[in-house]
């Protein structure tokens, strides 16, 4: 068990290192970072100073190590547009994003999981069909279309809610619903198929044949086993909390991380983009780690040394 966790932690660290390496390679491939970060109008002296400061006159391998060291120390560069440290800028936007993504996550869980379980248990019923149709539709409607449709209906025609921006709790409703509906559909579909998979297993039939009441079979055998794959996708949603609303924030002009990312990409404010990329990666890795730990408890087979491996 202990060994399993150590391996997972090492893997997580390795993944973070991989993202840093990715950022470094992309940064190098994209041209002279002095130009990219200082802008084309910088004076030759400023460029030289920048190169010296960042060790760009050193061999590539050295630069890589320096880059790594800087990131470990939390030095993620200055925002070209805002001027301040990129990290501070990004961190200041996180609460706004969480105001959308956290309630949306709760909404996904509260709707998606029960709907999926119900649909699986009453296969081919009217509700199952409805869940499946909604889920397929939810898959096919991109969030910007859903968001804009809601704006058109509720903000423009009915004028019940504001079209975008921040300020009052009313501003929160449309973005949260937009985020939540699509995710709930995806989750419902996933939970349904995980449940159906489990319900088709021989041990469920055996439990049934032994005369255990159906509700007990579902509670003691089906749900815990279906929970195992579901934890993965929920973990992905949790890891996506800080940057899962890029498109929706853009639709509703919400001042969160996603909006900052889009604006920074358009303006090529590279240190901010890089900072968001690394933060997202860290969040993803962290949530994956939590998922792996949960797996260790949910699925005793995985922490057994003999079978500890991929899932």
């Amino acid at each position: 068990m202990f060994r399993y966790f150590i391996i997972r932690i090492l893997r997580a660290l390795l993944t973070v290192a991989l993202v840093v390496t990715f950022a470094f390679i992309v940064l190098r491939l994209s041209g002279d970072p002095a130009y990219s970060i200082m802008g084309d109008n910088a004076s030759p002296e400023a460029l030289a100073a920048f190169r010296k400061e960042w060790g760009l006159d050193q061999p590539l391998w050295n630069q890589y190590l320096h880059y790594f060291a800087a990131i470990v120390h939390g030095e993620l560069g200055q925002s070209m547009r805002g001027g301040g440290p990129a990290l501070d800028l990004v961190l200041s936007r996180i609460p706004a994003t969480l105001m959308l993504t956290l309630p949306a996550l709760l909404m996904k869980l509260a709707i998606g999981i029960p709907a999926g379980i119900y649909a699986a248990l009453h296969r081919d019923s009217l509700i199952d069909r409805a869940v499946m149709v909604t889920a397929v539709a939810g898959y096919s409607v991109p969030s910007f279309v859903l968001g804009l449709a809601l704006v058109q209906l509720l903000a423009i025609w009915l004028a019940w809610l504001p079209t975008g921006g921040a300020g009052s709790p009313l501003h929160l409703i449309l973005p949260i619903v937009t985020l939540g509906v699509g995710g709930a559909a995806v989750l419902a579909r996933f939970v349904r198929s995980a449940m159906l998979e489990v319900l088709g297993q021989p041990y469920i039939r055996t439990a049934n044949a032994k005369g255990i009441p159906w509700t007990a079979v579902v509670r003691d055998h089906a749900l815990p086993n279906a929970a195992i794959p579901t934890v993965t996708i929920v973990g992905f949603m949790v890891g996506n909390l800080i940057a899962g609303s890029v498109v929706v924030e853009s639709v509703f002009s919400w001042p969160g991380v996603g909006n900052l990312l889009v604006v920074s990409v358009a303006a090529r404010d590279l240190s901010v983009v890089q900072c968001i990329l690394l933060l997202v990666a860290a969040a993803m890795v962290l949530s994956n780690l939590v998922v792996d730990f949960l797996y260790g408890f949910l699925d005793p087979r995985l922490s057994n040394d003999n079978t500890a491996g991929r899932h």
């Binding site: 391996i7 090492l10 893997r11 390795l14 040394d305 003999n306 500890a308 491996g309 991929r310």
Partner: protein
């Protein structure tokens, strides 16, 4: 003494199962210091339970896998490394038959295409010659032109095994390794396929390494046999003699489990204890936890192979000390 077509000299093979990028390597010793030789035109049977390493031995003999230590001599020279050009050319001389013919055939190609494939691979003859040769080979294994155009899924189990046999023999190999070739077939079909194999052996001067757990088939087809237990050869000798007078306690148990026609009922030796697990090999003689005549030294000292007067080789402490006692019991 006849010439040996293939000789295994003290080969060992371990599998290291690594789990993940940082996983610990868990070595599993599949084959341990196995020496065997197969004379030209003869059949050597390799017998053992699943997990005894008999299939791995066959794959090593064929050069599909490289032994960790020891060497494989084919017609007196060592096999080239797997997946090299030289190794691929050698495939024409040594072939294999599998337990599950449906898995061994490509489901999307017709039988004729697949029987012809070795000729395509080794670029022998023109296209029409290849087809003729393949059809002739199919005829030799008892399949006709209508079978030639079928997909494997449209054939019966026995017919599929015949197709696999045709594919293996079309290059006229000298060595054929059969890994449980009939155990997946119905008993009535088994006899047909075994008879076909024996006919073809005579006709094509094939040498066969026959891997099986079925002593009835082994008795019919082989001149010599070797018994494996957890990666080691515990007994090896002339098939008829060995089946009549097994020396090793494990062989005795195996032989006693075969029903004998003609009423001469033997007492069945029932083995107790855990079935063999290569990942947790017992110390000393691997068989000692289940052995009815185990003695204290068996748990610590691995028995060496001794050759008895009749050419039989056995690896057992009990036999070393009192070979006559073991022989007298039978």
């Amino acid at each position: 003494m006849t010439e040996n077509i293939v000789e295994l000299q003290a080969i060992s093979k371990s599998y290291a199962t690594r789990r993940g990028l940082f996983g610990r390597r868990v070595p599993v010793r599949a084959v341990d210091e196995v020496s065997l030789s197969l004379a030209k035109g003869q059949t050597l049977a390799l017998v053992g339970e699943s997990g005894s390493g008999k299939s791995t031995t066959g794959r090593v003999a064929l050069g599909l896998e490289r032994a960790d230590t020891g060497c494989v001599l084919f017609r007196g020279t060592e096999l080239p490394a797997a997946d090299t050009r030289a190794w691929r050319r050698m495939r024409a001389q040594m072939q294999m038959i599998y337990q599950d013919p449906l898995a061994a055939l490509d489901r999307r190609l017709t039988v004729l295409d697949q029987v012809r494939e070795p000729l395509d691979i080794h670029e022998i003859g023109s296209a029409s010659e290849r087809n003729d040769k393949a059809l002739a080979m199919l005829g030799a294994v008892g399949l006709n032109a209508s079978h030639a155009g079928s997909l494997p899924s449209e054939l019966s189990g026995g017919q599929r095994q015949r197709a696999v046999l045709a594919r293996a023999l079309i290059m006229r190999p000298e060595l054929l390794i059969c890994d449980e070739p009939v155990s997946a077939l119905d008993v009535s079909i088994q006899a047909q396929v075994v008879n076909l194999l024996m006919d073809l052996q005579k006709e094509m001067h094939l040498s066969i390494l026959f891997i099986s757990h079925d002593l009835k088939v082994v008795r019919q087809i082989s001149q010599r046999m070797a018994v494996m237990y957890l990666g080691r050869i515990v007994e090896c000798g002339d098939t008829k003699d060995l089946l009549a007078n097994p020396a090793h306690p494990y062989t005795k148990a195996l032989v006693s489990a075969v029903p004998v026609a003609g009423g001469r009922t033997r007492e069945r030796i029932i083995l107790t204890g855990e079935p063999p697990n290569p990942a947790a090999r017992p110390t000393g003689c691997a068989f000692h936890p289940r052995c009815p005549v185990a003695r204290p030294q068996c748990a610590s000292v691995s028995p060496a192979v001794t050759t008895l007067s009749n050419g039989r080789s056995v690896a057992c402490h009990a036999v070393e000390i009192a070979p006559t006692f073991m022989g007298a019991e039978a």
